[in-house]
Amino acid sequence: MSMLFERPHLLGLEGLSAEEIGFLLDTAETFKEVSDREIKKVPALRGRTIVNLFFEDSTRTRTSFEIAAKRLSADTINLTAKASSVSKGETLADTARNLAAMRPDAIVVRHPASGAPELLARHVNCPIINAGDGAHEHPTQALLDLLTIREHKGRLDGLTVAIVGDILHSRVARSNLHALRACGARVRLVGPPTLVPRDFALFGAELVHDLHEGVRDVDVIMMLRIQHERMNGRYFSSLAEYSRLYGLTVDAVALARKDVIILHPGPINRGVEISSTVADGPYSVIMDQVTNGVAVRMATLYVLVGRRRLPEVQTTPAGSGIDSTARGMVAGE
């Protein structure tokens, strides 16, 4: 029968099985078609309310979630940290309780602190979707990366993926590492020793500190955005030196497999971690990632929110539908 995704929330990809990830990707693939229609809207989540709760600036992720929700006919409310009472000293748990009292059907949350979505999940009775928490996870970003890779390569199993850049501070890298490993891909983490934590070898990653060695014969290169504020001498001497050693150029790309694809979560620092020639070149699938982002977020919202409707009484055996959902909600892992 069909694959199930029974988790009440999407807090991260660590611990998800290849089947669970595959189910979300398959669902996302179907939802891509909706965005190709003239009327880009289906009534699946009509009457549902999705709260986008953003404690960090993010134009593209928030927009992507908002478009996804709207294409499913849900109502969306955007709350940003500056505009909310967070700046007046309210704690996250208080904010959560107040939001919960307004009966949203899901909360999409981005927060600078790792674990914030998990805390929220303990205080509210609706699905929580992590849209990026500190240096912890950014599950929908990794899902859209996997969908993009799967579309271009036809599979994930057996591929070699190099993730290049500031691994230490990257929630994108963490989510991708967990998901790619679960799906049978080999992962190389590439960057200076100060930005590639040795602990990551425990998750089955290969750690490489030389860019050319790191991208040799890989199927996929995933570049991470370098945060300028981190390049103050503590992790690396200068932006120019980082760029010279780890910036992705045409020469480096030539060492990868001929059919290599290049991903970047955006926004791009042109000429820093990636040269314009590479970013706009034939191997770049960066715009596909953006398109797939909407589909992945539609799939996530649909899978987590859509099933909360009461089961059809006449055909569902007693105790199966409602109970499993309710149990999941209370457990709130």
Binding site: S2, T30, E33, E38, A44, P311, S320, S324
Partner: protein
């Protein structure tokens, strides 16, 4: 094949030949009513309606000597009972590669029961365009409508009890063509409502 046992009985109501004849008759009826296939677009409701739609389109095309456009739709996202928690099937792709504006859409499903699936399909079609007309063809009409929907073409009218299930097995999905009525049964495979 499934075996009968004490708690459930299975009665074949359409065998492979009967199913073939029913589809052939429907194809003729469609042409008789629409005069030609020139404006026709055949769209099947997943899953199994799409298989029957392909067969009907091929049959009409054979009779007319012209290719009849055929598509498929998954109406899950338009249903009024979207989720039943434990039964979360994968939503399948909707594939309607033709303009339906001003054309006659022949909607095809395997079993017509409450009418709720067809209601969802009608809503979905309206999002794709404005057909001149929509007609409905079903392999089996088992009654018990909950909405004011009626089929234009019926392979077999089958009076049923609500407790019974209609299992439609098709060559393309189950390896053989057969429609059976199952009492107090649980389906192992095949489609049933």
């Amino acid at each position: 094949m499934r075996m009968e046992n004490g708690s459930r009985s299975r009665r074949v109501v359409l065998d492979a030949t009967g199913l073939k004849r029913a589809l052939a008759r429907i194809a003729h009826e469609i042409l008789e009513r629409n005069k030609s296939a020139a404006e026709l677009v055949v769209i099947g409701i997943r899953s199994r309606g799409d298989i029957l739609a392909r067969r009907l389109a091929a049959e009409i095309g054979r009779l007319e000597g012209a290719e009849v456009p055929c598509g498929a739709m998954d109406v899950t996202l338009y249903r009024d009972d979207i989720s039943r928690g434990a039964d979360q099937a994968l939503v399948q792709i909707t594939d309607i590669p033709w303009e339906i504006d001003g054309r006659v859409v022949l909607l095809v499903d395997d079993v017509l029961y409450t009418g709720r699936t067809v209601r969802a399909a009608l809503d979905a079609l309206m999002d794709f365009g404005r057909p001149r007309a929509i007609q409905l063809a079903v392999l089996v009409d088992r009654g018990h409508r909950e909405l004011p929907i009626r089929p234009d073409y019926v392979g077999k009218n089958l009076p049923t009890h609500r407790e019974e299930l209609v299992a439609v097995d098709l060559q393309e999905s189950e390896g053989h063509d057969e429609v059976a009525l199952i009492l107090n049964g649980e389906l192992n495979g095949g489609g049933g409502r």
